[in-house]
């Protein structure tokens, strides 16, 4: 057995309140495409940041070709042949391609020579790129090419790719895989991070699975079914909780033919979305991040307005109404981003309670605020949802993620909504807090509220939702009852196999 290119031994990294990596060990062989699998928050990104020198491990060692390897900064890692393509592109919009590439190199040649080399390498690997174009004008796929070529110009021994396909079209994924296969043939090792199982089955030689910061198993992806890998990722068989035929009321929320362009430059437009949610029903919406989740929440909350008839609440068109009017009617939302979207970070919990509660809780009188009532509303949320904080006068920023999330969800739940839309209600929240948030959502539904739960946590959706639909590139699949739904079927709805078909063409 030859020495592996990179050997990780017992890497541990803890942040306040969470152990991101706990005794992670595995080897990456020479010329191997090694997949690092895991759910959001499993510790994949932290692990690669340690390899790239951005984060220092608390304990554990790394060996590069048998030699101790402890990069103090990315420069040192790059000097040792480690290159990384970032999940969120580390590019400078106002600079041109050549300048961006020069910034990622230790000893870049003169600009004119560099431009020539960029042209050569980009032609060799089938990634055409004009060195003098401004990066801000490039498409997501072209931007990624800039990152990849920046890495290739340094002849890396190990290329780290963090979720490279999440922003690519299927055609671009195909090109990317050709490039990666070429690199593997030349002896470059690749550490490929993803949670797209079919991609990994197509591309990777070996896979390591992380769950809650721990290495929970390894497998050879080509010989393992997507279902088995998914179960290793989530840690148990995907449970389908019993949903005894609870009676649903009439349709509370009716979305039909909803198409909305994304407000942000790199967002996903919603395309012809149809769905109905009945009173007492929980509709779970799954899908990989960036497939229109934020836009869907925005259009349901009223932050993005649309044609009046596209969204109906109890038969009444509300597409043109803004968030406050919708709140008054009983349509409440809790967005994904806790600090900045769901809560104002530097304002107290009392003030945050007022921000969404003023309409329904009557915390306002002719423009004057009723602080006493607001404070007792905030205290009610804190006690009902077991929010750990010294008191409602504390700033939202001072709470841990889980506690703030309980507050944000609790604030909406206690306003007795008729329709509640939540996005990633338990993202980054510990298991106990997550369970109580899910329980609150279920209790609300039992009282007759129509709930839409957007999440990337399939386990969560299987646990709480009555029917399931998936967002894929802004399109929503037809909702199906959760009971009896298999992982393979869910994968198909999420478009998991879609990418694989294209990759084979």
């Amino acid at each position: 057995m030859t020495t592996p290119l990179l050997s990780l031994q017992g890497l541990t990294k803890a942040y306040p309140g969470v152990v991101a990596n706990d005794q992670v060990s595995f080897d990456i062989g020479e010329g191997e495409v090694h997949a690092l699998l895991g759910e959001n928050g499993a510790g994949k990104s932290t692990l690669v940041k340690m390899i790239y020198g951005l984060v220092k491990p608390d304990s554990g060692t790394m060996l590069l070709r048998g030699q101790p390897f402890a990069p103090a900064e990315p420069r040192a890692a790059r000097a040792d042949g480690i290159a990384m393509v970032f999940q969120h592109f580390s590019l400078f919009d106002a600079l041109n391609v050549a300048e961006n590439i020069a910034l990622g190199m230790e000893n870049p040649p003169k600009m004119s020579d560099l431009a020539t080399r960029i042209r050569e390498v980009s032609e060799t690997y089938g990634l055409p790129l004009d060195p003098y174009r401004t990066v801000g004008d490039l498409s997501a796929g072209e931007r990624q090419r800039v990152e990849i070529i920046r890495c290739l110009l340094q002849d890396p021994k190990l290329l780290i790719m963090d979720e490279p396909t999440s922003v690519l079209t299927p055609q671009e994924v195909e090109i990317l895989f050709e490039t990666l296969n070429k690199l593997r043939a030349e002896g470059t090792s690749i550490l490929y991070i993803s949670h797209k199982l079919e991609e990994i089955r197509t591309l990777c030689d070996h896979a390591t699975i992380l769950r809650l910061g721990k290495n929970v198993g390894e497998c050879v992806p080509a010989e393992t079914s997507a279902r088995d890998m998914a179960e290793m990722m989530v840690g148990s068989t995907l449970q389908t909780p019993e949903r005894s035929g609870r009676d649903f009321g009439e349709v509370a929320l009716d979305v039909s033919g909803l198409s909305v362009p994304s407000p942000s430059e790199f967002g996903t437009a919603l395309r012809n979305v149809h769905m109905t949610v009945r009173k007492g029903e929980v509709l779970g919406i799954g899908g990989v991040a960036g497939n229109g989740q934020d836009e869907l929440l925005g259009v349901l909350s009223g932050e993005i307005t649309t044609a009046a008839d596209a969204i109906k609440f109890n038969g009444q068109p509300i597409g043109l109404l803004g968030p406050t009017t919708r709140r008054k009617l009983g349509v409440l939302t809790a967005p994904e981003e806790r600090l900045g979207h769901a809560a104002a970070p530097d304002m107290s919990l009392t003030e945050n309670a007022l921000l969404t509660g003023s309409v329904r809780e009557g915390l306002e009188n002719n423009g004057f605020l009723k602080w006493a009532e607001t404070k007792s509303f905030a205290e009610k949320i804190i006690s009902a949802f077991d929010v750990r904080t010294p008191g409602p006068e504390n700033a939202a920023r001072s709470l841990s993620g889980g506690n703030l999330q309980k507050f944000v969800i609790g604030r909406e739940v206690l306003q007795n909504p008729d329709v509640l839309v939540v996005n990633q209600p338990t993202w980054g929240v510990d298991a106990a807090a997550a369970a109580s948030i899910r329980q609150a959502i279920l209790d609300l539904a039992a009282k007759g509220t129509a709930v839409v739960c957007i999440s990337q946590d399939l386990d969560e959706l299987m646990e709480i939702s009555d029917s399931f639909a998936a967002l894929n590139e802004g399109r929503l699949s037809a909702p199906r009852p959760t009971t009896g739904l298999t992982v393979d079927e869910i994968g198909l709805m999420m478009g998991g196999a879609h990418g694989m078909e294209v990759a084979h063409v």
Binding site: G53, R75, R78, F89, L91, D93, A102
Partner: protein, 306 residues
């Protein structure tokens, strides 16, 4: 009124002198803003530079030492801005305003015993033959050395930003500090260096007013040039040569309106006095139609988090 008394050669020569303090301060601030930091304390750093330079050259008798002291004085004051914004992560706008107010007050205190004192003169350079050419000689080749330093600095900053790796890294930090950090560049360190450079340039600009342009010390003698420098950087779209153009335009109109006042033109003095500000801003607003060139991270606080 006699417009014939205005000598065009002297007018052009003196507009360059009038423009130099503005140019020096603007070039320094341009570098600071290119690194993504908005330092509104230019006026404060200028006036501290003005009194530092004035005091040292009076005490030592050497204008050169005075200018060096001015640069150090401006840089030391900018160090306060560094501590506030880069270490304590305070708001840049508020910190910059505080710096200006502090600088104005502190310089008045430092300068109490220097009111009415005459500083040593630096003298103009005189190159035989070239300086004696009619018209061109007096305009281009009969100035004090610091004026040429200002032009050289403009050229150096332009070339550094455009052609060198240091300039590229500086622009990268100002453009996207998170990406620069991810690539392993020391964002805070680079910004601190830029802020110190900006402070030194503003100090030089201030000392140019107190040692050469006026030359004497009075409280608040920078009279808003620091604020014009800030506006100039924005309207020059962060381009050094355009900043030089803007500074000369401002200097030109300042000198012209003084000449017009002296010639007794029948326009109220107040209108003439405000004309340089209005015309400079109007022209630069029209020039800066391309809004895209502002550094994307300008004024945003960087905090490394993983």
């Amino acid at each position: 009124m006699d417009l014939g008394e205005i000598n065009p050669v002297l007018l052009v020569a003196s507009l360059m002198v009038a423009a130099t303090p503005l140019l020096l301060a603007a070039i320094g601030e341009l570098v600071v803003e290119k690194a993504g930091v908005l330092n509104l304390g230019v006026e404060g750093m200028m006036i501290v530079g003005a009194i530092s330079g004035f005091a040292i050259s009076v005490e030592t008798g050497s204008p050169w030492l005075g200018f060096i002291a001015a640069a150090i004085g401006g840089a030391v004051l900018s160090l306060l801005f560094v501590v506030l914004t880069q270490v304590a992560l305070a708001n840049q706008v508020a910190s910059g305003l505080a710096l200006t107010l502090f600088g104005l007050g502190f310089s008045a205190l430092m300068g109490q015993s220097y009111v009415g004192v005459k500083p040593p003169s630096m003298g103009d350079i005189h190159i035989p033959v070239i300086s004696d050419i009619p018209v061109i000689g007096p305009i281009l080749f009969q100035h004090d050395p610091i004026l040429y330093v200002g032009i050289a600095l403009t050229a150096a900053v332009w070339a550094t930003l455009k052609y060198t790796r240091v300039g590229l890294i500086l622009r990268a930090v100002g453009e996207n500090h998170d990406a620069a950090h991810a690539l392993g560049y020391k964002v805070i360190k680079i910004r601190v260096m830029a802020i110190l450079f900006g402070g030194a340039c503003a100090g030089l600009g201030g000392a140019y007013i107190s040692l050469i342009r006026v030359p004497q010390w009075t409280e608040g003698m920078t009279a808003g040039v620091g604020w014009i420098a800030l506006a100039l950087v924005v309207f020059a779209s962060w381009k050094p040569w355009r900043a030089l153009l803007g500074a000369y335009l401002f200097g030109g109109i300042t000198v012209l309106q003084l000449n017009l006042q002296a010639a007794g033109v029948a326009i109220p003095v107040e209108y003439l006095a405000m004309s340089p500000y209005i015309i400079t801003i109007l022209v630069l607003v029209i020039l800066s139609a391309d809004k895209s060139s502002a550094p994307a991270s300008l004024g945003r606080t960087f905090h490394a988090s993983h």
